[in-house]
């Protein structure tokens, strides 16, 4: 049974063209660019988000940096269609986000939500949800797990994995559906160095494969390693957007300079 019309799959009784995975995606339009206009959120008299104009398009990896409470997570969630702003609009390629288009959108939440089933089944589930049949889902899930270097954990319960394994599994699950764009909300916070490295490698590979990546990071070294663009937020506003090297070598704004210098910025 198909759970979603997302992939625009032909009805079951119709013969399917064997054109490989790309043929599966012909049924829906791309979701890039993702644009936000006049995004505004205020709580308890404080402006949590005030972003006039943001566009996520093209290719590459953007890392969102900024102190705690800058509005990074909030903006990502709003652009992902998970939260609604008080004011403003989010468009995915000109159309508001809708459930049937999440097959082209991936996101790894701050703390991974894994289903109470084995690791492999977690990935299979996501693939089935976007419309792949049982056999296809299983094959793709095996591949995704292998790409994440987790083949040995295929039948381990997802809920008892270590923190690093959980995060890698969540990432593998998001990547398995081959989205156009992938959001990651602090995917490596409080992970051991090996797990951090593994996740960065997976992200980099996806980016090299043409997937648009937006990632929140607190570790500036990591930001430098994985990104080709840095977006700095502070007090709910985007302060500066610049190519990675330029941002670190010659920040334009005073806030960015202070932030890079490790001076604490608390709003």
């Amino acid at each position: 049974m198909r759970w979603s019309l997302c992939l625009g799959l032909p009805p079951k009784d119709m013969p399917m063209h064997d054109d490989g995975p790309s043929a599966l995606q012909t049924g829906t339009t791309p979701i890039l660019p993702i644009t936000g206009k006049g995004l505004f959120v205020r709580r308890k008299g404080r402006d949590l988000l005030d972003v006039q104009d943001i566009t996520i398009g093209g290719r590459g990896t953007t890392v969102l940096v900024g102190p705690n409470g800058a509005g990074k997570s909030l903006m990502l969630n709003i652009l992902a269609g998970l939260k609604a702003p008080d004011r403003g609009t989010v468009l995915w390629n000109g159309v508001p986000p809708s459930r049937s288009r999440y097959c082209r959108f991936g996101m790894v939440l701050q703390s991974a939500v894994l289903l109470r089933r084995p690791a492999l089944s977690n990935i299979e589930y996501a693939l089935r949800a976007v419309g792949h049949d049982k056999v296809e889902a299983r094959n793709r899930a095996h591949r995704a797990l292998a790409d994440a270097g987790m083949t040995k954990l295929a039948s381990a319960s997802a809920r008892v994995l270590s923190g690093g394994e959980r995060q890698r599994l969540a990432l593998a699950r998001a990547l398995a559906v081959q989205p156009d764009v992938l959001f990651l909300d602090e995917p490596t916070s409080s992970l051991d160095p090996a797990s951090v490295l593994a996740i960065e490698r997976m992200v980099k590979a996806a980016s090299d494969g043409g997937m648009r990546i937006v990632l929140i990071a607190h570790d500036l070294a990591q930001a430098r390693r994985v990104s080709n663009e840095i977006m700095m937020m502070h007090n709910g506003r985007i302060i500066e957007t610049a190519p990675t090297d330029r941002f670190f070598d010659a920040p334009k704004s005073a806030e960015a300079a202070a932030f890079i210098a490790g001076k604490i910025l608390i709003s």
């Binding site: 979603s4 289903l115 109470r116 976007v130 039948s155 319960s157 998001a174």
Partner: protein
Amino acid sequence: MQDFAASFAEAFQLVFGLNSGLLEVVWLSLRVSLTAVAVAAVIGLPLGAFLAVSRFPGRAVIIVTLTAMMGLPPVVVGLVVYLMLSSAGALGPLQLLYTPTAMIIAQSILVLPIIASLARQTLEDLHVEYRDQLMLFGLGSLARLRTLLWEGRYSLLTALLAGFGRAIAEVGAVIIVGGNINHVTRVMTTTIALETSKGNLALALGLGIILVAIAFAVNALVFVSRAAAERYAHA
């Protein structure tokens, strides 16, 4: 004290005498209460899940009502079901009064609020954790409900057991709608009531001991199979 000793002796005698009458009564008790729990689960779990994830005007009223109905007096439920199923009642033509089906209906009504309320609480907590992720899967609301129910399956079992406990132990409703008819609608609790009214206190208490043992056995069985299932899911 000698009453208690006599009761235990009665209980052992009943169990090891493998009295066919006792088996019949035990079997009917289990059949009625387990079916009632199944019926209540089929309605109550989706209802609880729906209340857990949706927001609409009047939702709070429904939740408070359901929670309050967890304490429905069995006698009142029995009376209402009696009035409905009575030949003079709305559902009289179905001829269900004084049948096990009538008892199942009454117990389902008793158990439904318990299952729905506990499921609602469990799933609402779970939903806080899962909401964003289920959204990201691109699931429709029905598929989301189903996934939540499945993810909460181990906790929801407790809700079902609470419902079963209520059903197997109640006497007020089944004695009114079942009539405590020998070989037809006589269950453990109505037998206990009958033996008490005959003044056979030791026998009544002996039956009570068996009832408690059965409830314990059912719970233990669920506990063990749940542990096994969890091991399997984690294996």
